[in-house]
């Protein structure tokens, strides 16, 4: 927010157009994009997949994919157009004046080089330091980004560090030469929410200290709202809206931005209060359709000589018919293990699971197969959970074939009915998964789950991989289906904003243990554990409440 009229912008992008060529095809993915970043400012490039935000960011640092070309416009760094510079010229700029914090910390560090070597490399390339001096600088940088025992870390390899620690290392590299501009390309989307918050805080802190500008590329409007001074909203490679964060959030001018704001769960859930009471009018309420009692799941680790690892430890909860129960936790919390036991893919080490009055431990072979009609699972990644060789019709008809009680015409009718119920066009029947969009694929997966008329549907991060606008449509669909069919949902998610929006009751898991549980209101308004409080505070988009 230090835009004074006299200092030139750090970065000025004007009418930028970028296209990808591939043999004979030519596809323009960025159209006439213009924006500027003033010294010390944070500008967020917000958009869904295919919006051209990453391509734009890559072109600024001169690292477009080999078949990408800048076709028009300019990219000015401190008033000099660098958009047509050669690689050799750009090498002097990269790292020194513009640096990058990449998206995926897991694969962004060279696995066969030490952390110290990789941090030191940027100093060496630009001839800033060498020998002892370089070593000392590396260690001080690692300490600066909040890594404990920096001298030890410098000797370690990437695989010995957690995701959050690796992202800190990458931040250390990005700030090493105190560049004028840092491009942060989805810097936290691969991290757990609590880690995400700490990393974003760190970037903020270093940025203020060094006076660096930041271009924050993100799909998460909540993150952008919290961290950016100005927003650039992209859709289909065009700027839809551009302005100060406050102004855009309070009074969005473009229809697309309004849609994004309405669909972003971190914002909308604030509006919909106390969903539990609103939903409590189901006639069948009162009986528990899912009962989990003292669930324990151990896994033997082969490399540790028989020592086993406890993924889930003494977990109990109940779900009433017709309601939505959310299981919340970060990676490694045991939430996936729990639902795999509930749907009967895995025998629990101890404890009891009862679905609609059936004790799972009594089921074996054919009885287990028959039981599967009652409970169905929708996976996180619809592309992986649909057989690429089957048509949509075959996919949805298959469960009916497995319990072949319907004759062919009746089966066909049922498949068509359920597909239109989940909002898929008739034309999609003969397509294969690769010819569908992400949202359509997830609709197919939902249709497959519903075609057997189950009592319980387990949704394993079922909307996490989708863009917000698509996510919102799927969530609406799920809500509608629940009301019409009286379904019970078990909703597994790491995204508390979504959970707050759609569930009635919640279990919060950490390291395999239940740390909090109860109605949404109890958990979100009166959290009992520190961990739950930390999770809630980490939900991005909380600044917006102040603006609206």
């Amino acid at each position: 927010m230090s835009a004074s009229g006299f200092t030139p912008p750090v970065l000025e992008v004007e009418n930028l157009s970028i296209a990808y060529h591939d043999g004979v095809t030519h596809r323009r993915v960025v159209h006439d994009v213009s924006f500027r970043i003033d010294p010390g400012e944070v500008v967020a490039l917000v958009g869904e997949s295919g919006s051209g935000k990453t391509t734009t960011a890559q072109s600024i640092i001169g690292l477009l994919h080999a078949n990408g070309r800048i076709e028009g416009g300019s990219i000015s760094l401190n008033g000099t157009d660098i958009s047509r510079w050669s690689d050799r010229q750009l090498d002097a700029v990269r790292g020194a004046k513009i640096s990058l914090i990449p998206q995926d910390p897991a694969s962004s560090l060279n696995p066969v080089k030490t952390i110290g070597a990789q941090v030191g490399e940027i100093l060496r390339i630009h001839g800033v330091a060498s020998g002892r001096d370089l070593e000392a600088q590396v260690i001080s940088l690692l300490g600066r980004v909040g890594l404990s025992e920096p001298a030890l870390r410098a000797r370690q390899y990437p695989h010995e560090l957690s995701g959050g620690m690796r992202q800190r290392v990458l931040i250390a590299i990005a700030v090493a030469l105190k560049p004028q501009l840092i491009i942060a390309d989805e810097p936290t989307s691969a991290l757990d929410v609590t880690v995400q918050k700490r990393i974003l805080d760190l970037i903020d802190e270093l940025r203020t200290e060094y006076g660096t500008s930041v271009l924050l590329v993100t799909h998460d409007l909540g993150v952008a709202a919290d961290r950016a001074d100005r927003l650039v909203v992209l859709q289909g490679g065009r700027v839809q809206e551009l302005g100060a964060t406050k102004v855009v959030l309070a009074a969005p001018r473009s229809a697309y931005t309004r849609q994004l704001l309405a669909d972003a769960p971190s914002f909308s859930a604030v509006v919909r209060t106390a969903p539990a009471t609103a939903r409590d009018r189901h006639p069948t309420s009162g009986d528990d359709v899912v009962i989990v009692d003292g669930l324990v799941q151990d896994f033997s680790r082969t490399d540790d000589r028989g020592k086993s690892f406890r993924a889930v430890d003494d977990l109990s909860f109940r779900v009433r018919r017709g309601t939505t129960h959310a299981i919340v936790g970060e990676s490694g919390s045991g939430k996936t293990t729990t639902i795999r036991a509930i749907v009967g893919f895995q025998k629990p080490t101890a404890g009891r699971i009862e679905i609609d009055g059936t004790d799972l431990s009594t089921l074996r072979g054919e009885t287990l197969r028959q039981f599967r009609r009652k409970i169905q699972l929708v996976y996180q990644n619809p592309y992986g959970s649909l057989d690429p060789r089957q048509t949509v019709f075959d996919i949805v008809a298959e469960p009916l074939l497995n319990f072949g009680r319907l004759v062919r015409p009746a089966r066909e009718e049922k498949v068509r009915a359920i597909l239109s119920r989940v909002g898929l066009p008739e034309a999609a029947l003969d397509r294969r998964p690769h010819a569908l969009s992400g949202g359509q694929r997830q609709r197919v997966a939902i249709a497959r789950a519903l075609v057997l008329d189950p009592d319980v549907v387990v949704l394993d991060e079922a909307v996490s991989a989708l863009d917000v606008t698509v996510q919102a449509r799927i969530l609406d669909l799920l809500d509608e289906l629940q009301r019409d069919l009286g379904l019970t949902y078990l909703f597994v998610s790491h995204d508390l904003a979504v959970v707050r929006q759609i569930s009635d009751t919640v279990s919060v898991l950490k390291d395999g243990r239940l740390v909090d549980g109860g109605t949404v209101e109890d958990v979100f308004v009166r959290p009992r554990s520190d961990y739950t409080r930390e999770l809630i505070n980490a939900i991005p988009g909380q600044k917006r409440a102040a603006f609206v």
Binding site: D22, V24, R372, Q376, L377, D387, R448, A449, L452
Partner: protein
């Protein structure tokens, strides 16, 4: 001699790459006309026609020489010259196609059927049986394939079919390993679990999902294996373990031509070029198979 492992991996890698799709990948368009592919298909088509109806392509007898026509240089009447007995080399190559190509077919079919069955069984059954089968496969792989074929040839005796079997056996272990890893990969996928989750029985899931999805890449590899089988069979023929003279098998032709290496260069050069062309074409065509199949 046996370079298929790496070629296999290539085909699979490219097939996977197509499926995975990267962050910036754009829909692949039809590039310029695939000249190489068309030429390769033509070469293979001609070779197969030679094998099916050699008499359509030459009027010379491949086995009986003409007196006074010995060791003629290539000219208008003898396209590729003649050998020491006055036999037309072009005719011998045309009539030899059937030996090389059927041999390769038998070898690939044997490896494919036996190897894939073993692999699919290993990939579908319980851990212990799987481990036992794969240990055996490892052992087979530890014997250099030429040693294995030679051992089998000693056992069965020389001849076209025996050479083909010997080559086929060496690929059994590779097919087994590949098809097992494909079955295991598909079995781990979400869609197979989803199929069980929607009430599928073991047999139904295996039939509907596991087999079709894992065997496509195995079939693509089988096509690729064809070229290397042609190579291996010609090698056995060259070493003298394949068809006996005067059969005009390509490897044997080259071996016979060696005796006149200083005087009649065409006797070794021509059949060799034919083998290279056929193998190159087979590899090229099967690569496009692999891409389509995936």
């Amino acid at each position: 001699m046996t370079t298929f492992d790496t070629i296999h991996d290539d085909a699979i890698a490219s097939a996977r790459g197509q499926r995975a799709g990267k962050r910036f990948s754009l829909p692949l368009s039809f590039r310029r006309l695939p000249v190489g592919l068309i030429l390769s298909s033509l070469v293979l088509a001609v070779a197969f026609l030679w094998a099916l109806a050699p008499w359509l392509f030459t009027s010379y007898n491949p086995l009986e020489g003409v007196g006074g026509e010995q060791l003629r240089r290539p000219d208008a009447s003898h396209l590729l010259g003649t050998d020491a007995l006055g036999r037309d080399l072009y005719a011998r190559i045309v009539y030899g196609a059937v030996h090389s190509l059927t041999g390769a077919f038998v070898a690939v079919a044997l490896g494919l059927v036996v190897g894939t069955s073993i692999g699919v069984i290993a990939g579908s059954v319980r851990r212990r049986v799987d481990d036992a089968i794969m240990r055996l496969v490892d052992v087979l792989l530890s014997i250099p394939s030429l040693m294995l074929s030679l051992s089998i040839i000693i056992l069965l005796g020389f001849g076209t079919v025996n050479a083909a079997i010997a080559v086929g056996v060496t690929s059994v272990a590779r097919f087994a390993r590949l098809s097992r890893s494909e079955v295991v990969r598909v079995r781990r996928s979400d869609y197979v679990e989803a199929a069980f989750g929607s009430g599928g029985t073991f047999a139904a899931v295996l039939w509907r999902h596991v087999l079709p999805n894992s065997l496509t890449s195995v079939l693509a590899i089988a096509a690729l294996q064809f070229g290397s089988a042609v190579l291996q069979i010609s090698t056995l023929g060259f070493l003298g373990y394949g068809a006996p003279p005067p059969t005009p098998e390509w490897g044997l032709l080259i071996a016979e031509g060696r005796n006149y290496i200083s005087t009649a260069w065409w006797l070794t050069t021509a059949p060799g070029i034919i083998v290279v062309l056929v193998v190159l074409s087979a590899n090229r065509v099967s690569q496009s198979f692999g891409k389509v199949a995936a």
